[in-house]
Structures are given as structure tokens and as C-alpha cells.
Symmetry: C2
Subunit: 674 residues, 2 copies
């Protein structure tokens, strides 16, 4: 009976990919625009693909070393799983980027030729392809592996490890890329040369637009992919450690291990329905279409999950709980994710933003103080949500509950990611419209789309942090269970054990170190970019007058090589810390490291993402004409906040999510060695 | 035999106070200066005393509520101990402030009349009185209580709780006071009106100088006092939970409980010797005098501790360790404290500072990014020191080792605090010299003293954080032991217990909340100050021309009432969180709260203190003429960093130390109720 289930997730994944292909064909049939637009689009597309190719080269070498080490220490199946995870994530990122950089020009052209509704459709198609790829490739990869390895939990864990290594490189590398290009292009172009944002004379502007794709689409996608697979793997691992008793048969255990894949499968269907809803409603009211889609998909998922969970868990009861309890944990995660997103929206979009903007009236220092203060305050409510989710889900079904809540939060990743990825596509379209000299009406449309995209992106970031936190916690729980299952006596991480304490302090210091390294990396890379743009303005005759073309490729190259060079050190620290501490000091210290790392990563991720988002929007609030608008001292002060916020929200902050997940999954994978 | 020991610590404390009185009389015999200087000195003195009086009024009410609650729930002895702790800390702070505000005018006058050597002496005398008061009153209070209560550990814990409540108010209130006055006076005076720092026409300048005393002398003193007593109390509490066995007699246990008081006693003597060393060497080389004093005192202490520990612990062996082990733990703490101080000196005084200053060439945003990055990076090595101390000391003597290492670090607090408090006295003297229009040669001398003071203050801050971290950890250990001793089964804080996890997240979020509240408080209070100073410049005719006097008292009042209003909320959160979580959710959650709080408080304290110190010194580096010097854009950019750094290093950062200690000690005191 169970056997026939096992094929469903990968098959549904294939269906999801086919839907994505269909959407791609529809999107690709939209007109690309005139020669000028086409050329700009090609430059961005090529820049993004060049980055991906170079990144994947570095990544392959890094992954190869990891896979060999895994093969030697943990055997062939785990090594295969790492490879499968890395490949699935890479393919999802590649397809997503490819499509997004096809969708951006078509969005700009649609905005100028057919108006807002059509532009929204194209941009949303672009995002949907990424969303469906993430969800589908997760199901295909993890589902097939589960099928092939017949649910061998230990080996399957490698899949999440492979995905997390790709995420680390994409998120950190992408984050450094996008911000060095952004800061460099803005500083020389807008401030020194006094030309507008996205002006085609600026040599850094293509790199800036490439960066949006690299960071916000490929980086974000791999981040979510990793949490998505990590939470499923954690559930499988936790369920696999349950001992068989007279009440709890082997078949029951297998069913529980299968539940996350089953939930993700109906989540994919719900996401596809959600995408259809957005499509249907966008004709009458584009503004509400997204809201209906984002709310509709989880609702459908929750209802379907009720029947599925009761069906699967009725015959597979957890000790002390029934199907309803498991379903409630799923609901808890799903609702909690939305709640964290909405809180993020408040802190990066409402009165705190106005407070920061007003602080600009007394200069950049008060903008900084207010923004930092808002960021620090903004951690409290999301942490409260996480606490509630932990409390409720563990009360319902023990530590498995945390994992299944994370799966609940992430199952509708198809639609969530679609809406996240839509933002940068719209943002790019705006840039292309500016560079191609499209009429201002077009820019108004793309600006509106972009603004909406910024809000959904803020919600997406909050959601990603919440999901990553729960996924990491579930993986850590699985780590403890796995180590315990392999030992004579269970692994007890007692806080008053000095070894655990030492681990906690190590785990707390690592995020600060990684944040520091990535902040510095953006500064250094931006510095190279600034020098190159300055050089071109000086040495290329007629460039500023618009009579010569900038060498945009050079800037793309600088951002690419800087990003890839600088991401190696954080990558090595993240991947090597768990084996060093685990094998060097012991499993207790490693458990402490994960706990300290989890706490500090979640706090820093929320702090940095929300402070950065709030600064960004405070600047935009002033640019809309409030408090004197552009060109005032208040605006200059807000620009300082935004510049500091850039690496906060797009480089260092997001790398915190990945950091804890990488450390957690590497620990889980090496658990049999401890 | 033990009985006769018990009277030594309080008697030595009285001796220490007599030495402090002697130093006061010598210091007070230095000439106060002419009428103008005297008047300025009086204004600062009165402002400081007014603040202290108002603060102590609020504090008394708050303490009264706490004492009544403690009396009702834990009995008379504990309530008495809380009162004694609060009184001892208050008296130390009051005497220290009184003396410091007498020493500042005399330092300025000595600098103008007798030169550098004499000025150094007076300033150092001023600091020494504070140092000796902290050390002596700790011994008198805690020693007498130990004598009176015959070593009843539970009741004695109240002493540290009383001290920590005073510290909370002094540090947070003082921090808000000093920075609101500083930011307000600088912003309107230096930037808007274009008059120099400490110009007598600026109505906020007296409040600014009062603030240095309030924050850096009284605040810092109460902070160190609290760690000093907290670490001793923790050792007493941990030792008191040891069960009597055939190998371990009642007398042994009492000896171990007495050891921290004995170590602090010889630490006081070593400090007095250190002060004499500084005095002797300051004639030949004032620059080296302090170094010899700071290094000499711990050295003497370590040697004396060897004999003392071996004597006491030979007859009171800890299970599995001998006297040498305990002594090594003491050495480990003493050396570790110096190491953390030196690391702090590096990050706030060497190449990282130059890097921040150079980042000023590309504007305030890069100053911010570089400073934040330096601050984040600066946590790594101090955390490594703390890890080493934990590892070594617990290997040597178990969790008692962490407590006794903290005692080792803090025993020579007399000299450490003397050198810390010397800085603000010198700083004040510089301000007075400027206000009184003393010749520029005088200003050169006071500037030199001030600069040296800044370095020692940076070391002192690092030291304070390290000491607070260890003290808190020791108190937390005592909490776990105490709860376990009161229960049928021991309190096991297992990380994979969801209740513990929830506590960890609560504990991690509280420091962010407090940091946010205190950052905002500085901003709000500074805003009131700015408006008042602007009003006076506008409404008092002839003020800017130097023909009329500013209403400095009004500014002092504003800073006082703002600071006291704003410190209530953080105080209430810190004191009420442990009983709410402990009684509401349980001891496991409270244990988690303390662990999460400890980790995040230490990280944030180091991050904020070091980033703030580095920004401050980057500005000073430019002001010395580097990178173009004052008046350049680079300087303006560095000023932005310094302004953000002010609340970081003097308000929010230092409140982190106290926060974790308050939460820990309140938890320990309420442990019998759980």
C-alpha cells in the first residue's frame, strides 16, 4: 500500500515542472520589444548567466571536495544524496534566473505597449516559474531519492546538505554581488556624476540589474529551497528514530516519514491553483489578485492537509497524539509563517518607517540610531511567533511537531516564492524602461509594480527567516535524536555542562564573524566597482554626454569575481565548524553550537533584514515628496541609512538563515561519526 | 578557627575606606582655582549631586517595592540583604561622584598652575577614591552580612540583588543622561551655532560635563560593584549546595564559602599597593605609572592568592581537586580579564580605527558599515577568552571554578576602577579648562591626560563585560544548583526540551528590546535638550556674543528628568522577566532565558561597546590632523559614526552587562519559590 504512494511526489514534481514550462512558453510569447530594449535585456541576461556559470564552477569544486569527504566517511548513498541536492537546487536556480531575465524585458515592453495588467501578468509569470521550479525540483529530487533509497533517512539527509551548500554560495555570493554593484553604481552615478538611477551612461547599471536577479531571485530561491527540503528531511529523520513498539508498527513509522513529502505534494497543487487564482483575478483588480493568491493557496492547502493527515496518521498514530494534533501543528506553521510576514511588513512599511524618515531631519546620525532601534525592536514579535509555534506544535506532537509545522509553513512555497520573485522582475523592468528611454507613463506602471513587489518581498523575507528558523530547529532536533539513537545513552545537551556552554558561545560568535566578513566584503567589492566606474567616466571620451558606450561587461566581471572570491571564507567557516567542533570537542559542544547559532542567527537575521528594509522604505517615503522630497538634506540623510541597510538586508542578514541551516544539516549528516 | 576569619573582610573594608578618606583629604588640599573655575566646578558638582539625589529618590521607591515583595515571599533576612546591597552600592556611588566632582576642578587648576605630573596625581586620586569605595564597601557590606547571617547563602544572595538594582538604574539612567546631554550640546553648539566644544556660552555644556560623571563614574562604579559582589555571592551559593560527605566536612564547606571574601580582601590590599606604585612612579614617568600599577596589583594578588588558596583549600578540598587547581582558576580569571581588556584596546585603538577613519573618505555610510563590521568582528576574540576561562576553570574545579575565576578577575577592582574613573575626571578637567578660558598649554596637558584616560577606559569596558559575563554565568550556575537542591530531582536544562528552548528565545529577545528602548530614549531625551538649547540661543539676548549667561540648570533638569523617566521601563522589564517566566512557565524556561540572555547580552555588549569606542577614536584620529583633519567631509562623516557610537558604547552597550546580571541574580533569589 505504502509503495504506491512513494511515486506520487516525484510525479507531481514533474507535473509542476510541466506547468512551469507551459507558463514559460506563454511568457516567452510576449513581445521582447525593440532593438534597444532587446539589447539591454540581453546584456542583463548574459551577465546573469555568466555569473551563474562562474558561480557554479566554484561551487562544483567546493561541492566535489565535500562529496568526496562525505563518500569517504559516510558512504556512497549519502554522497549521492548530497550530489542530488546540490544539482536540484542548482537547476531550480538556473531555470528561475533564465526565466526571470527573459521576463524582465517583456514586462517593460508590456508596460509600454499594453499597460499595467499585461505587465503584471508577465512579471508574475516570471516569478511563478521560479516558484514552481523550487517546489517541483524539491519534490522530484527528494521524492525520487526517498523512492530509490527506500526511505533510508541517514542517506537522504545528504540531499538537504547538498541544497544548503548551494544556498550558501548563492545567497552569500549573490548578496555580495548585488550590493557591491548597487552601492558602486549609485555612489558614482547618482552622487558623483549626478545622473539618475539606471541611466544607460552608467557603466555599473547593468551589473546592478544583474545583481537584482542574482541576489533576489537565485539567492532567495536557493534559500527557500534549502529550508523547504531541510524541514522535510528533518521530519523524515526524526520519525526514523522512533522505536517500533507493539502499538507502533514498521508501516506506521514509514507513513510518518512519508507525511512531509505528501504534504509538500498537496502544497504544490495548492500553489498551482493559487497561481491560477492570481491570473483570474488580475483582470478585474491586479492589486487584490496577489492577495487572493497568497491567501487562497494556504487555505486550500490547510483544508486538503486535514484529510491527508487524518488519513495517513489515523493508521500511523504518534505516541499520545492523533491525526488532528498533527494537522493542527501543520496549521500552526502555516499561519505562523503568514503572521511573521505581516509583522515584517509592519516594521518595514508603516509608522516605524515614517519615524526613521523624520529622524532624517536631524541628519544621518539620527537616521542610523532610529533605524537600528527599529531593527532591534522588530525582533520581538517574530520571536514571539516562533515561541508560540514551538510551544503549540511540541505540545501537540513533540519535536516532530516543529518539523511538520515548518513543512506546513513551506508547503505552499510555489506561490510564496512566485510572489517573492515577481518583485525583482518588476524592479528590473523599471530599470530597463529607464535605460531604454521609455516614456514616463511606462515608468509609472513599472514603479507601481515595483512598489508592490517591495512589500511582497518584505513579507517574503520575514517568511524566509521564520521558515529557516523552524527548519533549523527541526534539523537540530533530528541531530540530537540521531546521535542519541547511535549511542548507548541519549545525547543530553544540559546547559550547565561546560562543554555545552562552550559550544553555545562558539555558536553565538560565528554569526557575528560571518556578518562582519560579509559586510566588509560588500564594502571592498563596492570599492573596486567605484574605481572602475570612475575610471570609465574619466577615460572614455563622450561617455557622460551620451556619445559613447560604457564598458558594462567590465563591471559585471568585477562584481562576479569579487563576489565569488569573498564567499569562499564564509562558506568554509560554515561547513567546517560543525565537524571541527563535533569531532574535536564532542557532540555536546556541537549541540551547544547549534543552539547558540540558531538563537543568534535568527535574531541577527530579523534585526538586519528589518532595519535594512525600514531604511530602504524611509528613503522611498521621502522620495515620494514627503518631508521635502528628493534633494533635501533629509533625503541625503535617508540615503545614508539606505546604503548601510543594503548589505544588512541583502547580504549579511540573509546569510544568517543559511548559516544556521548549513551548520545544522552538516551536523545531522555527520551525526553517525560522533 | 573559621570564626576569627569572618571579621577580617569587613575590617579590611573599613581600612580601605580610611585610605580612601586619606586620599580624599590630600586631593581636597589641592587648590580649587580662581572664582571662575570654582563656579564652573560648583555647577558641575551641584548638577551631579542633584541628579544623584533625584535618582536615589526614584531608586528608593523602586527598591522599596522590590524589598517588600522579597520580604513577603522570602523573609526578613533576604529583604535585609537586598537593602544592604542597595545601600552599599549607593554609598559607593555617592562618595565616588562627590570626590570626582571635587577632583575635576583641582585637576584643571593643577594642570594650569603646576603642570602635567601634578594634574595626573589629582585626577588619579579622584579615581582612586571611587575604586577603593567600590572594593571596600563590597567587603564591608557583604562581609558583615556573611558574619551576621553566619553564612546563610540564600539570604546573602539578596545583597547582590540589591546591588544589581542600583547598577541597573545608575548605568541605564546615567547612560541616558550623559548621552542626551552630549548629543544635544554637540549638535546645537558645535554644528548649528559653530562654537567649540565645552564653550561656556553653550547652555548644555554643564549638563554634558555632569553626564560624564553620572555615566562614567557612578554608572561604571555600580556596574563593577555589582559584578564584584555577584561573583562572590555566586561562589558562596554554589559552595553552599555541596553535600556533606565523609570526605567533605561542614568546616570544609564553610571554608570554601569564605574563599571569595578572603580573595577579595587580599585583592583590596594589592589594589592599595598598586595605587601607591602609581603614585611613586608618576614622578619619573607618568605614562608608565599606570601600566605598572595595573599590572603590579594583579601580580601581587596572584602571588598572595597562591598562599591563601593553598592554606584554605588544603583543609577544604573540592571533590577531585586540590588547592593548586583552585588557585589556577583564580589566575585564569585574573589573566583572562587583562586579555579581554587588551583585545578591546586593539579594536578601539589600532588599525581597525584607522580603517574606519579612512572609510570616512567615501562618506558617512561607509563609516557606519566599517564600524558595524569592526564591532561584529571584535566579539570573536573576547568570546574565545571567555570560552577558554570556562573550559580551564571548570576542568580545574567544576562550576565553582567559573565563579572563583570571576572573583579572581574582580578582586583587584580597587585599582581597575581607579584607573577607569581617572579618565572622566581628566575629561572633565579639560572641559573646565576650556570653559574657564585657561591658556592652551593647560588644554594640551588635560588633552593628554584625557587621551590616556580613553585608552584605560576602553580596557576597563572590556574588562567590565568579561567580568559581568563570568559573574552572570556563575550566578546562573548557582541558580541551577539552588533549584536542584530544593527539588526531589535536579533541574536539568536540556536544550531539546521545548520549554528550555522557549526560554532561550525569550532570553535572546529581551536584550534586543532593552537595547532598542535605551537607544530610543537617548534620541528622545537629546531631542528635548536640542530644543531647549536652541530656545536659549534664540531667546536670551547676547548669549552667543558672550554678554549673557546661559540657563545651564534648565538643561541639567531636562537631562535628569528624561533619564529617570526613561529608565523605569527597562528596569521593570529586567526585574520582572525572571519571576514572570519562572513562576509562569517554570524553572526550565527560566534557565533557558538566562542562557539565551547571557549569550546575547555578552555578544551585544561587546559589539556595541567596541563599535562605539572605535567610532569615537576614528573621529579623534581625524581631529589630530590625519586624513585632512577637522572641517573636512571625512571628519563630518566620522562625526556621524561617533554620534551613533555614543549611545552604543555609553548607554545601550553597558546596560547589557547589567541586564543579564539583574536577571540572573533575581532568578537566584527567587529560586526557592520555584
Amino acid at each position: 500500500m505504502i509503495e504506491s504512494y512513494l511515486a506520487i511526489p516525484p510525479l507531481l514534481g514533474v507535473l509542476g515542472l510541466l506547468v512551469a514550462l507551459g507558463i514559460f512558453l506563454v511568457m516567452n510569447s510576449f513581445p521582447e520589444g525593440d532593438e534597444k530594449v532587446k539589447k539591454i535585456g540581453d546584456q542583463i541576461h548574459l551577465g546573469a548567466m555568466t555569473f551563474m556559470k562562474t558561480e557554479y564552477t566554484y561551487l562544483s569544486l567546493f561541492a566535489l571536495v565535500v562529496i568526496i569527504l562525505v563518500y569517504l566517511s559516510l558512504g556512497q548513498d549519502t554522497a549521492l544524496a548530497v550530489l542530488a541536492g546540490a544539482l536540484s537546487s542548482s537547476i531550480a536556480g538556473w531555470i528561475g534566473m533564465y526565466s526571470a531575465t527573459k521576463a524582465n524585458v517583456r514586462t517593460a515592453t508590456a508596460a509600454s505597449q499594453s499597460g499595467a495588467e499585461s505587465a503584471l501578468s508577465v512579471a508574475f509569470y516570471g516569478g511563478s516559474i521560479m516558484g514552481l521550479c523550487v517546489a517541483s525540483l524539491g519534490l522530484i529530487g527528494l521524492g525520487s531519492l526517498y523512492y530509490i533509497l527506500s526511505g533510508d533517512a541517514h542517506s537522504i539527509e545528504g540531499f538537504a546538505m547538498g541544497a544548503s551548500i548551494v544556498a550558501l554560495f548563492s545567497r552569500v555570493g549573490g548578496g555580495i554581488y548585488t550590493k557591491s554593484a548597487d552601492v558602486g553604481a549609485d555612489l558614482v552615478g547618482k552622487i558623483e556624476a549626478g545622473i539618475p538611477e539606471d541611466d544607460p551612461r552608467n557603466p555599473g547599471v547593468i551589473a546592478d540589474n544583474v545583481g537584482d536577479n542574482v541576489g533576489d531571485i537565485a539567492g532567495m530561491g536557493s534559500d527557500i529551497f534549502e529550508s523547504y527540503c531541510g524541514s522535510m528531511v528533518a521530519c523524515i529523520a526524526i520519525a526514523s528514530t522512533y522505536a517500533i513498539t507493539s502499538d507502533f508498527a514498521q508501516a506506521d513509522k514509514e507513513g510518518m516519514m512519508f507525511l512531509p513529502l505528501a504534504l509538500a505534494s498537496i502544497g504544490l497543487i495548492a500553489s498551482i491553483i493559487g497561481i491560477v487564482i492570481v491570473r483570474l483575478f488580475s483582470k478585474s483588480s491586479p492589486a487584490n489578485a496577489m492577495r487572493w493568491g497568497t491567501m487562497g493557496a494556504p487555505l486550500i492547502f490547510i483544508i486538503a492537509a486535514y484529510y491527508l493527515t487524518n488519513f495517513l496518521v489515523e493508521s500511523n498514530p504518534l505516541p499520545g497524539s492523533d491525526g488532528l494534533d498533527v494537522w493542527l501543528a501543520v496549521v500552526c506553521g502555516s499561519v505562523g509563517g503568514i503572521a511573521i510576514g505581516l509583522i515584517t511588513e509592519y516594521y518595514t512599511g508603516s509608522s516605524p518607517v515614517i519615524k526613521i524618515a523624520e529622524a532624517g531631519q536631524t541628519g544621518p546620525a539620527t537616521v542610523m540610531i532610529t533605524g537600528l532601534s527599529v531593527g532591534m525592536q522588530s525582533v520581538v514579535l517574530p520571536i514571539a511567533c516562533i515561541i508560540l509555534i514551538i510551544f503549540i506544535s511540541t505540545q501537540l506532537t513533540g519535536l516532530y511537531g516543529v518539523g511538520i509545522a515548518a513543512v506546513g509553513m513551506l508547503s505552499t512555497v510555489g506561490i510564496t516564492m512566485a510572489i517573492d520573485a515577481y518583485g525583482p522582475v518588476a524592479d528590473n523592468a523599471g530599470g530597463i524602461a529607464e535605460m531604454a528611454g521609455m516614456p514616463s507613463e511606462t515608468r509609472v506602471i513599472t514603479d507601481e509594480l515595483d512598489e508592490q513587489g517591495n512589500t511582497t518581498a518584505a513579507i517574503g523575507k520575514g517568511f524566509a527567516i521564520g521558515a529557516a528558523a523552524l527548519a533549523a530547529l527541526a534539523i537540530i532536533s533530528a541531530f540530537v535524536e540521531t546521535v542519541s539513537a547511535n549511542r548507548a545513552e541519549p545525547l543530553e545537551l544540559i546547559l550547565s555542562n561546560p562543554t555545552v556552554l562552550i559550544g553555545i558561545f562558539i555558536g553565538g560568535a560565528i554569526p557575528f564573524l560571518i556578518a562582519s566578513i560579509t559586510m566588509t566584503a560588500v564594502g571592498d567589492a563596492a570599492f573596486e566597482m567605484i574605481n572602475e566606474i570612475r575610471r570609465q567616466f574619466k577615460e572614455i571620451p563622450g561617455l557622460l554626454e551620451g556619445n559613447a558606450e560604457p564598458d558594462t561587461e567590465k563591471c559585471v566581471d568585477i562584481a562576479t569575481s569579487a563576489a565569488l572570491k569573498k564567499m569562499l571564507l564564509p562558506g568554509i567557516i560554515a561547513v567546517s565548524a560543525p565537524p571541527l567542533v563535533g569531532l574535536g570537542i564532542g557532540a555536546e559542544a556541537l549541540g551547544g553550537l547549534l543552539a547558540g547559532g540558531l538563537l543568534v542567527c535568527v535574531l541577527m537575521a530579523l534585526f538586519m533584514a528589518n532595519a535594512g528594509g525600514a531604511w530602504d522604505n524611509a528613503k522611498k517615503y521621502i522620495e515620494k515628496g514627503n518631508l521635502g522630497g528628493k534633494g533635501t538634506d533629509t533625503h541625503s540623510a535617508a540615503v545614508v541609512g539606505d546604503t548601510v541597510g543594503d548589505p544588512f538586508k541583502d547580504t549579511s542578514g540573509p546569510s544568517m538563515n543559511i548559516l544556521i541551516n548549513v551548520m545544522a544539516i552538516v551536523s545531522l549528516v555527520i551525526a553517525p561519526l560522533l
